[in-house]
């Protein structure tokens, strides 16, 4: 049986097709999970919350999507230890839903930033088998509100638990300690601002996204 990856879609999600293309490129099966529906965790091997502008980014990025019905199923999947990856707006949704620590606020420059950046893998998430600690990757970012913020005590707790898994080599948006990706305590739920699905083929300008998605989905 092929492994099926559930891809969540909210109104305004716009990296859904891109993620689908990447999942297929890795030889896996993908299935849409519509924001209004619930699902059975057992039918899937992993979940991705793609990027975009759910609900137009209105009010606060990810805040409105975090309330959608599909999130209660995702919560259950997270609790059962299924791998869950939130990319960009998906990361924002996971923090708003309380599945990941911290919050993502407006970039220090106040401007949207689209560019290729260097990233460093800091700690490994439980699923990140294809990544090596200390490894650097080159991936594109594209966000206006990607500055990771967390209070000091919480940050300390996160470090103790090894929940900071990816950092920017150059802090492009003013994130606390240049954090680009974090995980929950049990490390099955991860979020990252960069877009691995935009670095899957050499014609895209780089292929480092493969190792990220590969680790998650194998």
């Amino acid at each position: 049986m092929k492994k099926t990856v559930g891809i969540l879609r909210f109104l305004g999600t716009n990296c859904d097709r891109d993620v689908w293309q990447s999942v297929e490129a890795l030889g896996l099966e993908a299935q849409w999970l519509w924001f209004e529906d619930q699902f059975r965790c057992e039918d899937f091997t992993a979940f991705i919350v793609p990027g975009g502008f759910s609900y137009g980014d209105y009010l606060r990025c990810g805040a409105l999507a975090a309330k959608a019905p599909v999130m209660s199923s995702l919560r259950e999947a997270a609790a059962k230890g299924y791998p869950v990856l939130g990319i960009c707006n998906g990361f924002q949704i996971l923090t708003e839903a309380g599945l990941l620590p911290g919050a993502l606020v407006r970039n220090e420059s106040r401007k949207f930033i689209d560019k290729w950046v260097e990233l460093k893998i800091a700690n490994l998430a439980g699923w990140a088998t294809a990544l090596r600690s200390g490894e650097t990757l080159r991936l594109p970012v594209a966000h206006g509100e990607g500055r990771f913020y967390v209070e000091d005590d919480e940050l300390k707790r996160m470090h103790d638990q090894g929940q900071v898994w990816m950092t920017y080599v150059e802090n492009i948006n003013g994130s606390v300690e240049a954090i680009a990706g974090v995980s929950n305590r049990s490390k099955n739920v991860c979020g990252m601002m960069p877009h691995p699905e935009r670095a899957m083929f050499s014609w895209m300008g780089g292929e480092d996204g493969r190792s990220v998605l590969n680790s998650l989905l194998r």
Binding site: L11, G12, N14, C15, R17, D18, Q21, S22, G51, G52, F53, Y55, G56, D57, Y58, K111, F112, I113, D114, K115, P140, A142, G144, H195, E197, R198, M200, W203, M204, G205
Partner: protein, 721 residues
């Protein structure tokens, strides 16, 4: 109506005596009630193209790839292998000057609707921007507002902005240009849907945002020159909602794909009026519309305002009655409402009802097909700036790199999502944007054209260049140009000088399209870009689409290997001096358009040579500037003096046309062979090195040059960083 009342109406509805007489003779009586508003909107320059229609016929030429041309929402070309693309460019100049953020945002929204209303999924956006001098009043705010408006809208709907062009000149100080282009893709089996209404008894359905007072009389406003009072005389500003647009894209594509609609049209300029009248007129059917069924955001709106409102993100469609429920279900799933506001009738009139009363019944063709057409006076073109010899020194490299014309545009495009969609092969950093076609794996190239500085030099040359320069950029990356779109931005057409430039550049553009076998398949005219009697530089912006078989081995825009050789291929037609630094623009030489087009074919072949690795078309500021632009990081160049550049100043000489290549030693022989017999010259002018750009023995430190090029932006726009 007394003479005085008539005058008041003329003013309010922006119609003149001659047009009024024409209306009276078409109707057999004077207009009454909402008819005034209807004629005002549909006979405006913006909707009727009354000053340009006569000349736009020159674009009638088609190639075998053309499936839809002028007249539909966008042109469509066949790429073969089951793939087709629709594309179009449109202006939003006036609204962007009034409220830059919303003006630019709604410009992007409007052009996207033109594309997906045909059934194509938008896959790329581009923008052509002309601003005034950085020191002009409000200019920093305008630049910031326009760029964030484009990024705010484009990023949110999830369509990548892959290329653009940004120009600065004092002639745009009080009238900026904001032109947006969108490309949409049809894959195997996607229907091309038109706006021709059909079938008596079918329903007219309204979807999308509710109607508000936004932009009432916007279409006729856009057809008027700016006066001093424009800044205060503002209708309710149209607000763009990219989130709503995203929902509309997905839901409209779904109903079209499932064959639930007969015809569909977005509500653009002049809102419900133009969409319903055009749909009925094109289909040769009648419409019965209940204006009081239109969903309103503001319940105090009357029928005239409902007809003219330019609220954004609204669509009108026609469907069979039995399909309404299925349509509603699709829209509902995407969080939108659809409701029937009327039906198609057996006659040919549009009947408008308000709370049960028939308030207007009129044949829509009187408003569309019978709009006036003017043959505005113009003179045949004379090349006034042509001189025996050139009289001014070129601009030095350091100066050009940090100038507002020459500095990096990264501040702009870094704010655009260039990669959403997962198909971007070449982003805004490159001369030609490239998007991968998902089914065939082929590459679609996109590039904008029109150099205002050439237009100021000579409108005829400028018109040719608006097609040739971007076509050359495509060719240099191995793309065959297939078709183009245009956005003709001009001043007041009632002035013969302006009209003469219009005609000269349109004639040239049309001729170039034929020579390149790249027909103009869609476009837009924006006249009256005139404020307080100052007209903008005539600016016929273009967008060209090209195709190549694969996404691999597209020549780079930058040097990519140390020690490679650098070649220059020159087709020497025109040498010129631009108007930077207050110089009088002038040129020498002649251009034979047919020969340029032939040479373009040779460049295309050269760019496919396996020993060619990078290419760049030489443009503004000449050879030195283009060589710098090929330098990246540590990789620079050492170029000697020679026949191609007898002295240092020659590195700043501008011409039409030259292309730079870099590649291995063996490429010289191949290039020379290709050039053989074409009256063009190929030279080995130097080599790729590290850390320096040395031109004719004058060495410049590369990192210093990078500093100038990147720092130029914040030097010119200290407030925007």
């Amino acid at each position: 109506m007394t003479e005085q009342e008539l005058q008041t109406h003329f003013k309010k509805y922006r119609l003149n005596r001659g047009e009024y007489d024409r209306i009276c003779s078409l109707l057999g009586r004077p207009p009454r009630g909402v008819e005034w508003a209807l004629f005002s909107a549909l006979w405006s320059e913006h909707c009727s193209y009354k000053s340009s229609r006569l000349h736009l016929k020159k674009f009638a030429f088609k190639s075998k790839r053309v499936l839809q041309a002028m007249g539909e929402n966008a042109g469509v070309i066949d790429l073969g292998q089951g793939e087709k693309v629709a594309f179009k460019m449109e202006s939003h100049n006036h609204p962007s000057f009034i409220e830059p953020f919303q003006g630019a945002a709604t410009g992007v929204g409007g052009i996207l609707r033109d594309i997906f209303t045909m059934g194509a999924r938008p896959i790329a956006l581009a923008n052509y921007l002309c601003f005034g001098e950085p020191s002009a009043k409000r200019m920093q705010t305008l630049v910031e507002g326009v760029v964030s408006g484009i990024s705010g809208y484009g990023n949110c709907v999830g369509v990548p902005t892959v290329t653009g062009q940004t120009e600065f000149h004092s002639s745009y100080n009080t009238n900026i240009l904001v032109n947006a282009l969108a490309v949409g893709l049809f894959c195997d089996g996607d229907p091309v849907v038109t706006s021709n209404a059909r079938g008596a008894g079918n329903l007219v359905v309204y979807v999308g945002a509710k109607t508000g007072r936004d932009g009432v009389h916007g279409a006729s406003m856009a057809s008027e020159a700016f006066g001093a009072e424009s800044e205060s005389k503002r209708p309710t500003i149209q607000i763009g909602d990219p989130f709503m647009e995203k929902l509309l894209i997905e839901s409209c594509l779904e109903v079209m794909k499932r064959d639930l609609v007969v015809a569909i049209q977005d509500m653009g300029a002049a809102g419900l009026t133009s969409s319903s009248f055009e749909m009925a007129a094109k289909g040769g059917v009648g419409f019965r519309i209940h204006l009081d069924h239109v969903p309103l955001r503001d319940s105090s709106l009357g029928p005239e305002e409902i007809l003219l409102s330019e609220s954004q993100e609204r669509m009108l469609l026609v469907c069979e009655p039995g399909k309404l429920e299925a349509i509603k279900a699709v829209f509902h799933r995407w969080g939108l409402d659809a409701c029937s506001i009327g039906e198609v009738t057996t006659g040919t009139d549009v009947e408008l009802y308000w709370k049960g009363d028939l308030i207007c019944q009129i044949d829509p063709k009187l408003l569309t097909d019978n709009a006036p057409m003017y043959d505005r006076p113009y003179d045949s073109w004379t090349a006034r700036n042509k001189k025996q010899s050139l009289q001014a020194e070129p601009v030095a490299l350091d100066k050009s790199l940090r100038s507002v014309e020459g500095t990096s545009r990264q501040w702009i495009y870094q704010q655009y999502d260039q990669r959403v969609g997962g198909a971007t092969v070449r982003d805004c950093e490159h001369d030609v944007a490239v998007v991968r076609l998902p089914h065939s794996g082929r590459a679609l190239g996109l590039v904008l054209g029109c150099r205002p500085s050439i237009m100021r030099l000579d409108a005829r040359l400028g018109g040719y260049d608006a097609a040739f320069y971007p076509a050359l950029e495509l060719a240099a990356k191995g793309f065959q140009a297939l078709a183009m779109t245009d956005c003709l931005n001009f001043g007041n057409p009632e002035k013969p000088e302006i009209m003469s430039e219009f005609v000269a550049s349109v004639d040239a553009l049309a001729d170039a399209a034929k020579l390149l076998d790249a027909p103009v398949i869609s476009g837009n005219v924006s006249f009256y870009n005139e404020t307080l009697k100052q007209n903008i530089t005539s600016t016929p912006a273009t967008g060209l689409v090209g195709l190549r078989d694969n996404v691999d081995s597209i020549p780079s825009s930058h040097f990519n290997q140390n020690c490679e050789r650098i070649y220059l291929w020159r087709f020497d037609a025109i040498q010129m001096v631009g108007d930077q630094l207050g110089r009088n623009p002038h040129f020498t030489g002649d251009m034979n358009p047919a020969q340029v087009a032939q040479w373009l074919g040779l460049v295309l072949r050269a760019s496919h040579l396996p020993n060619i690795h990078a290419t760049k078309v030489v443009g503004k500021f000449g050879l030195g500037y283009a060589l710098y632009r090929m330098c990246q990081g540590e990789l620079g160049a050492r170029v000697e003096l020679g026949e191609w550049a007898p002295d240092l100043a020659a590195f700043g000489q501008e011409r039409m046309y030259e292309v730079l290549f870099s590649g291995s030693q063996s490429a010289l022989k191949d290039l020379t062979e290709l050039a053989h017999g074409s009256e063009t010259s190929v030279w080995d002018i130097g080599g790729v090195t590290r850390g320096e750009l040395t031109l004719g023995g004058e060495r410049k430190d590369l990192s210093a040059l990078h500093g100038l090029y990147r720092g130029g932006w914040s030097e010119n726009f200290p407030g925007l960083s």
